[in-house]
Amino acid sequence: MKIKESKAEIFIGLFLFIFALLLLFYIIPTQIRFVPSATTSPRLMPRFVAIIIGVLSLTMMFFGYLKRNRLNQKEFSISQKEAKLVILTLIVIAIYTMAVKYIRYIPTTIISLAFLMWAFGQKSKIKLVLISTAVPIVIYVFFTNFLKIRLP
């Protein structure tokens, strides 16, 4: 998948502009209580920053539009394979965080490590098993006994 820089800028600018509007009119009013006696309101700075983001995003869209016919533009691309691996890693981390509470630290880490190493293309089975078991155990011992920090 490819996208030219100028197009990307237009889209991102649009996204950010909508975000800035959301901030100003929804998020800030609901998240921050109104303090009537305030000399400097808790909403002051966030509002200020939201406005700046709005302005900047419009500028970005504008420049992106201007640049649309430039010849030496950068292209942002990501191939299917790359995207798959990245998303896979993120999913593994997410599942890991959820699972580690129930299955304790050492087993979850061993499984995740082994899986990731295999997904990344590690061929040697010995290395896979060795590292994915040794590392979690070392970490666990180091943290619980030496640093006195509890792991799940």
């Binding site: 006994n145 006195k148 920090i149 509890r150």
Partner: protein
């Protein structure tokens, strides 16, 4: 043969080192239920106990907790580790305690401010009723201080300054309940103050030292430090009694203001712990607060030692919770 002996020596050396690293005391001291008529039927403690401290490692509350933990370790005979779970103005640690098993092996440091003040500032999932209390081991002292080379010798001088200022006089403090003290003065004298919040107890005083703020409501530990070095002058003690380290300085109560700030460091358990375990803990606790090493650390850090029992603390918290609700609404 030689090899076997040296191998044996190496292994036993390693075992000794590892064993030494674990810091378990040799034998548990006898734990008498004490004066009760029958010995406790349950065997407690049989494994390590955890104390969850609701402030960051290395801070005042944390250090006091660790000193206490060491004393209790000596009495109970099991290792006691302190875990820090700071944040949320002290509420995160309390919530963590609440969520742990009430088997008696998790104790929480339950300080007064997050239990009685913070609930009125934001949503918290607990009230003081949700815990069983062991007791308090320390009290946070507060005082009103000014720069030593300033012309203010008493609270009356500050009142005069406030009246003479074109706008409200600003004072520095690091959170509630400190502003209650200035509010009380303001109410009685009919003057307004502006509360300038600083993030930590030492920043509160640095502002005064730098001349940016004229008067501060600060912590006893920190103010004492600067009194010793001659940089700050204490105008009044903000608690119910005069400071041991400054017996000539009056309290706000003595000066006629209806306020005495009280905030404690206490220990508690998630509610529903077996009463026998609770009794053992209370007993150990009451002995620990008299432990000489613990007292020495507290003295070094200029903390007031204050021992009250679990019930007394619970009562105090419930009462203060309601009082503060009104005070905070102002």
């Amino acid at each position: 043969m030689k090899r076997k002996i040296s191998l044996f020596l190496v292994i036993s050396l390693i075992i000794m080192i590892l064993g030494g690293c674990n810091n378990t005391p040799a034998t548990p001291t006898t734990q008498a239920g004490g004066e009760t008529t029958q010995a406790p039927k349950i065997d407690y403690p049989t494994k390590a106990i955890t104390i969850i401290c609701n402030y960051g490692a290395g801070g005042g509350t944390d250090l006091a907790t660790r000193a206490l933990a060491q004393a209790m370790e000596r009495i109970l005979g099991q290792p006691i580790t302190v875990e820090n779970k700071a944040g949320g103005s002290g509420t995160l640690g309390i919530i963590e305690t609440m969520n742990r098993a009430n088997d008696g092996y998790t104790i929480g440091v339950l300080t007064a401010a997050p239990l009685t003040i913070v609930p009125h500032q934001m949503e918290v999932p607990f009230t003081p009723e949700d815990f069983d209390y062991i007791g308090t081991f320390g009290q946070y002292g507060y005082g009103i201080a000014v720069k030593a080379d300033s012309p203010y010798q008493s609270i009356a001088d500050i009142v005069a300054l406030a009246k003479a200022s074109s706008g409200p006089l600003a004072y520095s403090a690091s959170g509630y309940p400190q502003p209650f003290a200035m509010n009380a003065i303001g109410e009685k004298e009919g003057i307004e103050f502006t509360y300038a919040p600083y993030a930590s107890a030492s920043e509160v005083l640095t502002a005064v030292l730098g001349g940016h703020i004229q008067v501060a409501v600060g912590g006893q530990a920190e103010i004492t430090q600067f009194m010793k070095s001659g940089e700050l002058r204490l105008l009044a003690a903000a608690g119910e009694s005069r400071w041991e380290t400054a017996p000539e300085v009056p309290t706000l109560l003595e000066l006629g203001y209806d306020v005495a700030l009280r905030s404690y460091m206490g220990l508690g358990l998630p509610s529903g712990v077996d009463p026998q375990i609770a009794a053992i803990l209370q007993d150990a606790f009451s002995k620990a607060v008299e432990d000489e090493q613990f007292l020495q650390v507290m003295r070094n850090m200029n903390f007031m030692i204050s021992y009250t029992t679990g019930e007394e603390y619970k009562e105090f918290l419930a009462r203060t919770y309601v009082e503060n609700k009104e005070l905070m609404a102002e």
